[in-house]
């Protein structure tokens, strides 16, 4: 029988390198691919620190690893897709007063939609990544992502939007290992990248200056200063522009109120940033749209039309108990057992049950 062919997305880091190795050991015909997404801009600024998973050094490192493992290796250009689906989206969301998660957009449109399509086109059966997550086929016939055995490095949140079709063609071989084990496999093999540090933060903004990035991208057309206001309509001062703020933010407001205050809302239509106190940042419920159902099918609810779940409302969120219910086409309303802090429009909410991703959506401002 023909060996199953798998394209491994290689970032040049430890995780994806070991993923390629493990798949080769498991008998797959492995092809290494690095997705080139943001090189040009990095090249224009020589000496700048390479951030994230897909920089220039990624290609060199990944190529060396592929050579070391004896697998074919290619670079695929996804700059156009990344620009349109991730960067433009990222900027647009900020301009609309929302706080996007570009990694989710990248996973959904670039890593899966585009890479999978091109991989299938060149004759692959699967794509694989070095995510700390597992893909499983459930009793109800559906595919779902579930927590990796390394709880500390769980990466399921940013993968909630994968479709059933995509999951059917996806392998995540390192999800069944502890992070330490992956590092030790890399060292034992003598992989050239065994001691490379993990990548962090948003890859295309290595200096973390989001507002500055948006200013450059919009050529200074981003909305400028406006008013800090209270929910009651009282003006408190002047803010630097809505793209500088996110819900729940306390630092950097430069408001002398004599007590801790927070951003509770961003109003792009009036260019206002709403300020409130501690309890104002907490919400009992949220609404999300563009829902993707994963472990559960749409409408798989209890007699009352609800389902218990654990919701994560941002990447680093520990999760909060809640009930979910349908709230119109492609929408879910989620009611928390205890109020949660800083529900942020634009971020994703992901619902879990027993460690499986039930589904998730984008938080909408009501």
């Amino acid at each position: 029988m023909r060996k199953k062919k798998v394209v491994v997305g290689m970032s040049g880091g430890v995780d994806s390198s070991v993923a390629a190795y493990l798949l080769k050991e498991q008998g797959y015909e492995v092809i290494g691919v690095t997705m080139q997404i943001w090189q040009e801009e990095a090249q224009e600024k020589p000496g700048r620190e390479e951030g994230g998973c897909c920089g220039l050094s990624a290609v060199e490192d990944a190529r060396r690893v592929a050579q070391f493992l004896g697998i074919p290796y290619y670079v695929m250009n996804f700059r156009k897709e990344f620009r349109e689906k991730v960067v433009d989206y990222f900027v647009g969301e900020y301009l609309h007063g929302r706080t996007p998660n570009p990694c989710i957009a990248c996973n959904r449109y670039v890593k899966w939609e585009s890479l999978l399509h091109r991989s299938l086109a060149i004759g692959a059966d699967y794509i694989a990544t070095g995510h700390y997550a597992r893909v499983e086929r459930l009793a109800n016939g559906r595919y779902a992502i579930c927590h990796s055995v390394t709880a500390a490095k769980d990466q399921t949140y940013a993968l909630y939007s994968l479709t059933q079709e995509q999951l059917a063609h996806t392998l995540m071989p390192i999800g069944s290992y502890e992070k330490d084990k992956i590092r030790s496999i890399a060292r034992e093999l003598g992989l050239p990248v065994a001691n490379k540090p993990d990548s962090q933060e948003i890859c295309f903004i290595p200096d973390h200056d989001y507002a500055g990035f948006i200013d450059r991208e919009t050529k200074g057309q981003a909305p400028g200063p406006g008013n800090f206001v209270t929910a009651g309509g009282e003006t408190l001062g002047v803010h630097k522009g809505i793209t500088h703020y996110t819900i729940g933010q306390r630092k950097g407001l430069e408001l002398a109120m004599g007590r801790p205050v927070f951003v509770t809302q961003i109003r792009p239509e009036t260019n206002e940033v709403v300020i409130g106190e501690g309890e104002d940042v907490f919400s009992k419920e949220l609404l999300c749209g563009q829902v993707n159902y994963m472990a559960m099918e749409e409408g798989e609810l209890d007699a009352k039309g609800t389902r218990r779940a654990v919701a994560k409302i941002r990447y680093a969120h520990k999760g909060a108990g809640c009930r979910i219910e349908k709230a119109g086409e492609g929408r879910i309303r989620c009611t928390f057992e205890e109020p949660v802090r800083a529900v942020t429009p634009g971020q994703a909410v992901v619902f879990y049950e027993d460690g499986y991703v039930l589904g998730g959506g984008t938080i909408i401002r009501e």
Binding site: E40, Y74, V75, M76, I122
Partner: protein, 399 residues
């Protein structure tokens, strides 16, 4: 399991001729001397360098003191442009070049622009040919250099070098030509063509990598490129790459002695490949000029096909091809050459360069066309654009 490889990327590099390798070997082992030293081991090396210089000079109808060995074609291009620009800065700071030059020329021009030089980038026609009258029109009193390539590396077009040379001569301005793709493949007489500077590279004509030369007409002022010893008339210091120079000389000798025969064979393979491709692969387009074209170059665009996937799938079948220029194949942006001849972005993306050598066979051409046919059909099967096109949703746009 070692698969048969079909090598069709001879514009990227060529297999070093066994004769060249053999000629080089003694200069690693017995004749390792430094050509600048006085004892006999050094003298043998010196002699070898002189011989190679004579060989190269004779292939161009040049004098030996007009040949400067360099570390390759890019170095020769960089030196030609920067060296002339600096030496003639008092006369003027204007340079004329074309939009389809190799990056070794284009990026050097950009470097000069940042240092106060002005560069005119000439358009090309739809076949990728520079119009001599436009060269003439671009000349100004402060023009110091015209740099137009002899043959394009992506689409193989041969430029009207003689006409441009005559224009340069008439206007008393210098003429440099990047002949990296042409030298060793077509006859070049620098006097007849009025060429003042010419760049060439060893590994493009079955010589070794990392060695090339710059032809610099005697009397042309030139800034030194590397400062140090007296090598290369004090203009390019550093102990000579003796084995490389020997290999370069030997490869040049072979290339010129077999030029007619190899050229004819390449042309036959090229035309066979083009013929079958055009007959059997729908919606393809030959880029470049049909007549004024290097005998080894084939460049096609395929609609509804991602060039990147095509190359990967060809590689899986053991066929080495390229999307255009080797230097940019890590980053498959549409080629500046294909955009310059007016191809829209999406079509420029789906291009394939196949460059043959006399070592290729007709069977390999057949295998390649069969593979391209199969892969293009498969990729189109998966292309939503092609699906729409088949359904007649989008009006067929002529390419």
């Amino acid at each position: 399991m070692k698969r048969h490889v079909i090598y069709l990327d001879n514009a990227a590099t060529t297999r070093t001729a066994p004769e060249a390798v053999e000629a080089m070997l003694p200069y690693f082992s017995e004749q390792y001397g430094n050509p600048s030293s006085i004892y006999s081991v050094g003298c043998a090396a010196k002699e070898a360098v002189i011989k190679a210089r004579e060989t190269i000079a004779s292939t161009l109808g040049a004098k030996t003191n007009e040949i400067y060995f360099t570390g390759g074609g890019s170095e020769a291009d960089n030196w030609a442009l920067v060296g002339v620009a600096e030496a003639y800065a008092e006369k003027g700071k204007h340079i004329i070049t074309s939009k389809i030059e190799h990056h070794a020329v284009l990026h050097t021009c950009q470097y000069l622009e940042k240092r106060g030089y002005e560069v005119t980038y000439l358009d090309v026609d739809e076949n990728g040919i520079v119009k001599p009258e436009e060269v003439e029109r671009a000349i100004r009193p402060d023009t110091i250099l015209i740099s137009v390539m002899f043959a394009n590396n992506e689409i193989g077009t041969l430029q009207p070098v003689r006409e441009i040379g005559e224009i340069a001569k008439r206007h008393k301005t210098l003429f440099h030509t990047d002949a990296v793709q042409a030298y060793g493949h077509v006859p070049i007489r620098v006097d007849e063509l009025h060429i003042d500077l010419l760049s060439a590279s060893g590994h493009k004509f079955h010589g070794p990598k990392g060695i090339g030369f710059l032809y610099l007409r005697a009397g042309v002022k030139m800034r030194a490129f590397l400062h140090g010893g007296q090598q290369e008339r004090g203009r390019r210091a550093g102990t000579e790459n003796v084995p490389g120079i020997v290999g370069l000389g030997r490869a040049a000798q072979l290339a010129f002695s077999r030029m007619e025969e190899n050229g004819a064979r390449e042309k036959e393979l090229r035309d066979y490949l083009i013929g079958r491709m055009e007959k059997e692969v729908p919606y393809c387009r030959l880029n470049g000029d049909r007549e004024r074209r290097l005998s080894n170059n084939v460049n096609f665009s395929f609609r509804f096909v991602e060039g990147e996937s095509l190359l990967i799938m060809l590689d899986m079948k053991g066929i080495c091809a390229s999307s255009g220029s080797a230097c940019t194949s890590g980053s498959l942006d549409p080629s500046h050459v294909l955009l310059a001849i007016g191809l829209p972005h999406e079509i420029a993306h789906g291009s394939l360069r196949l460059t043959v050598s006399a070592e290729n066979t007709r069977e390999e051409m057949d295998e390649t066309v069969d593979a391209v046919k199969e892969i293009v059909a498969k990729l189109r099967d998966m292309s939503p654009l092609y699906e729409d096109f088949q359904k007649g949703k989008s009006a067929p746009e002529r390419i």
